[in-house]
């Protein structure tokens, strides 16, 4: 469905994308992960036909993304990473403009989405909060029931409740057989929606794998707080991977099975137990470190 073949676009300063190749097949939800400035948006710009590759090609449904952009758009929904609307319009005016530029006559889906996201469409876009603007963008991307969706950091600006609604939406669209590519810098978001994940760093694809494989390999960090420093140092000598320790706090790294770790805890007076959220970078550094040592 979506084919990127040896795509290269250099902006100098090592910025851009280099020799990027991957495919997203029909009905697949593909998570596109990477830190800011890694080249996610550059890839998406190619898919939308906003920029031409220096080398390589991008195709959607067999059509060249730049040359045949207008035909591709008929069946594509796009949510830009940066929200920039026609400021002087209200939400509904903007959605109507987009619908009429698409020749869209059936507004059922649009109204469903407006209700689902509790979007107030009467206000001027200029005065909307970031989250509200993001909702307008989401409705705009999904309202014409496109088969292909390209979403650039779709949940940015949304509150946790709306993030959940969005994840539900993606799952719902997935059952309809949509092909979705969504960029993100949050592993949790991708974990809950995607079938396959590609990771980009400094313009190069460093990993592409099933979400299950990544999850299995994911290592979690737990912060255990003990009553005394003595107990902490005693605990640190147990057969566990200790990441670091500081006075009465020990950080333990565990991948997969937790039972051994949990079984040890009752032997100590534990006053606190927290999961440390790891950055995407950490997760994948670890993943690839393991792959390398195998």
């Amino acid at each position: 469905m979506i084919q990127i073949h040896q795509l290269t676009k250099s902006y100098g300063n090592k910025k851009g994308v280099f020799d990027l190749s991957f495919e997203v097949s029909k009905g697949e939800v593909f998570g596109y992960l990477g830190p800011n400035g890694a080249g996610k948006t550059t890839t998406i710009r190619h898919l939308l036909g906003f920029i031409k590759p220096d080398q390589g090609s991008c195709k959607i449904d067999g059509m060249d993304c730049h040359r045949e952009a207008a035909i591709i758009q008929k069946n594509l929904g796009y949510l830009p990473g940066e929200i920039a609307f026609f400021d002087d319009m209200t939400g509904i005016q903007f959605l109507n403009l987009m619908a009429s530029m698409r020749g869209l006559k059936d507004f059922t889906r649009r109204d469903e989405l407006i209700a689902q996201f509790e979007l107030d469409t009467k206000g001027k876009i200029r005065k909307m909060s970031k989250g509200m603007k993001q909702k307008v963008g989401i409705v705009c991307a999904f309202m014409h029931n496109p088969d292909i969706l390209i979403l650039d950091e779709p949940t940015s600006g949304l509150d946790p409740l709306m993030q959940n609604r969005f994840i539900e939406l993606i799952r719902e669209e997935k059952t309809k057989g949509r092909t979705i590519i969504m960029s993100s810098h949050s592993f949790e978001e991708v974990e809950r929606t995607c079938d396959r994940v590609g990771i980009i760093r400094q313009g190069r694809l460093v990993a592409i794998d099933d979400i299950q494989a990544l999850k299995a390999a994911q290592r979690k960090l737990y912060r255990v707080t003990f009553k005394t420093t003595d107990e902490a140092s005693k605990f640190a000598k147990e057969n566990l991977t200790v990441e670091s320790m500081y006075e009465n706090i020990v950080n333990v790294a565990i991948s997969g099975d937790l039972s051994q770790f949990i079984a040890l805890l009752p032997n100590y007076s534990v006053t606190g137990l927290d999961v440390i959220t790891q950055s995407l970078e950490d997760i994948f550094m670890h993943y690839y470190g393991r792959e390398g040592s195998k």
């Binding site: 710009r45 939308l48 036909g49 906003f50 920029i51 031409k52 952009a69 207008a70 035909i71 758009q73 008929k74 594509l76 929904g77 796009y78 830009p80 940066e82 929200i83 920039a84 609307f85 026609f86 400021d87 002087d88 319009m89 403009l97 987009m98 009429s100 530029m101 698409r102 020749g103 705009c140």
Partner: protein, 267 residues
């Protein structure tokens, strides 16, 4: 070849600017017509003679003849018409393409099944159309105010020809703004070039009018192709200028559309 919904949206977000310019031009025009008085025109001429000669020529206030058309051509079409519609075309040309790209709203326009060419043609057509409307309005105001104050005094066919020349000049000037708007992704750059060039033309024209030493400068400004005195006196060569302006406009507008359809967009 155009997107009607987009055209409507563009009209909606720009009509206020157009109306402001219409009002300002109508105000100045009727005032200038009101100043016309065949009896005292000679004394007016005398008054103008008494002002520093360089100032008069810089502003192009040359009294060609004592007819109403000559008066209007000298006072209104010599300078004011080169100023207000110029500002209008600079502002609106920038808003047609560059502003959407700079702000990012172009991403939405292009995520609909409309080609870049179609979007650029729609926006270009709005610019051309609104300028035509502005000049047509000025023409109408000119005829109405002349007929109201001095019935039968205006040589209407000559006046229409003068406005045709004005219109062609503005197609070319707005074409400069349009091609800059299509070329630059940043509104500051688009304004600097799309506005800077026409303003430079205006300044060069004023300088070239001042003295004989600088008169060769007239070859460096597009405004030389629009000479109100030559048009109303039907001096041979004004037709060639019309054709040149027309061809230039076609090149500038189609060049802008071509550039926009090919370039990389930072959206």
């Amino acid at each position: 070849m155009i997107s009607m919904p987009l055209l409507k949206a563009t009209i909606k977000s720009n009509y206020k600017v157009l109306i402001i310019f219409m009002v300002v031009l109508a105000f100045y025009f009727s005032m200038i017509v009101g100043m016309f008085d065949p009896d005292t025109l000679d004394s007016m001429n005398a008054l103008i003679e008494s002002l520093p000669k360089d100032l008069i020529s810089a502003l192009n206030f040359t009294i060609v003849d004592t007819s109403l058309l000559g008066f209007i051509a000298g006072y209104f079409y010599g300078f004011l018409i080169l100023l207000f519609p110029l500002i209008y075309s600079i502002i609106v040309a920038n808003r047609t393409i560059a502003k959407h790209v700079d702000k990012g709203s172009m991403a939405y326009l292009l995520s609909t099944p409309n080609t870049r060419v179609k979007i650029a043609v729609t926006q270009g057509l709005f610019l051309i159309g609104s300028i035509t409307l502005l000049i047509a309005f000025v023409t109408l105001i000119g005829i109405i105010s002349s007929e109201a104050m001095f019935p039968g005094a205006l040589d209407i066919s000559g006046f229409l020809l003068l406005n045709l020349g004005t219109l062609l000049l503005y197609y070319a000037i707005s074409g400069i703004g349009f091609i800059a708007s299509c070329f630059f992704n940043d509104t500051n750059q688009s304004l600097a070039v799309g506005g800077g060039i026409p303003v430079a033309f205006l300044i060069i024209q004023m300088l070239s009018n001042v003295g004989d030493q600088l008169s060769n400068l007239k070859y460096a400004t597009l405004l030389t192709l629009f000479n109100p005195t030559d048009i109303i006196n039907k001096v041979s060569g004004f037709g060639t200028s019309f054709v040149a302006l027309f061809i230039l406009s076609v090149i500038l507008y189609s060049g802008g559309i071509y550039i926009f359809s090919k370039k990389d967009l930072p959206l």
